[in-house]
Amino acid sequence: MEPPRSSGVGIDNSGEYSPEIAETLRFEEEIQSLIHPSSFDGSAAPTGGGSFTALLGLPANQAVELLHDSGAREPLASRIRVGEHPVHRPFHLPLDCSSAFPSNATLVDRAARFSVFAAEGSPASSSGRLKAEPQDSDSPPLDPIPTGPAKRKDTGRSKCDVRLSLSFKSQAKVTAKKSKNAEENTDGDKLPYVHVRARRGQATDNHSLAERARREKINARMKLLQELVPGCSKITGTALVLDEIINHVQTLQRQVEFLSMRLAAVNPRIDFSSLDSYLSAECGPVTVRNGPGGVVVDPSLWPTDATAEATRRLLVPQFWHIDLVPPQLQPQQSLTTWERDGAAHSQLLPNPTTSLFLYDPANSGDTNVPHRTAKLKTAEDRALNL
């Protein structure tokens, strides 16, 4: 017979886990009482003991895994992370013990229902695991685990297997504690078949689990955004990262506006055919209207373009562009070209200011962006006012 010596180990190293010592002591007796009647069963004894080792081994598995994980997350995530460990067994016992411990199925069901991983799929998943149980026996992978190196793991294991025998009422105690030990679910007074998904020191309400899932989703998306926005990986703290992201979005939108100004300025001037020669490398074949000699055709277009309207439309955005966007590319060159045109732009100079102000409110209906300044506070104020 195998006495619960690990619980003895647990007592030795239970300095950190002092509140649980009483429990361990109490439940040692329960375990022993459970084991002894099982030893009376002729055929079930070895299996009972074996399953108990399996029990001990399994908890060690879970303990190791639980000690490694600091609050593993989503079901998928926990499955993945668990997959890294050599053995992932849900925290269950082989059903060979069922003969030794009567009415186990009901206890297991109860445990499964209230298991730590109380998320939506847990009853289904635990039932699935229940089906997987008969296939699992005292499998070899369990053997290396009891020889876990760290003392701490032993204590964890002891805690785990002791917890197994915790009564169902104590589940509340267990869940309430934020100890470093694995949160498990136990069922009744008999040794349980427990299905546990590792969750370390966290509450197991449905609400908190759902909230945690939601928080993890948001954090994952934030990480994605952080990678996207340059210079955000160094920043720690969600608020600052969000600020940076907002700043980046506003900058990009502003750039789009200025570029559209530039394009609008250049548009009537250039025949698109001439553009094809420049863009053929990037944009692939574009229909050419006037053939490859598009550049020559341009001068002929100028007299038609050089109406007062066209020049006004061209010059005005150009001036606005120059005023507001010094860092933008080549404002000087285009200005000189416009001057060379010899249009009477001196009379158009007063216009840019008015057109500028006209442009902004008109565009604000589109995107609400132009009014945003670089300072987030003013932007926020406007956003709150809007």
Binding site: L242, N267, I270, G284
Partner: protein, 173 residues
Amino acid sequence: MIASSSSACRSKTEEAGRKAQPPTKWRATAQQRVYGRRLLDALRATAGGGARAVKAAADSALALTARGQSRWSRAILLGRRRNRNRRNLLQIKDKIRSDRGRTRPASAPRGTDRLRVLRRLVPGCRKLSAASVLEEAADYVAALEMQVKAMRALADAFSGAARAAATEAQRGA
């Protein structure tokens, strides 16, 4: 001129991809080409209507290139087609479409205001949950970067052509 950053972006690690992650999806040069072509067509149609029209055309082209897979692209396209007065229709559509996996639009304890600002910035995200807003924002940022790149290249090409034509005219005249 359009920097082919595809190699750089492909070295980026993709997450467990149920869908194409925004950075890789929008940085492929194929996307840039598609967008460039669409932008050119849109610009041709603009016929020099002014900067506002150019921007609208550019945004519509961008939304088209997104193939309507993201909420903001649908919002842009629908906003353009219908009148401004019909915006309630747009909101109804958003509600219908967003019934899939949307949790309550919770105001997250951290950075509530920022989330609100973000919602306003990204088109079509007024009533989404925090997670969806962040997701849309990621896609939107990637798309905007591509748009800026393409438009800058176009503008440079334009002005280059303009300058060349100007010098030609000078020489000719």
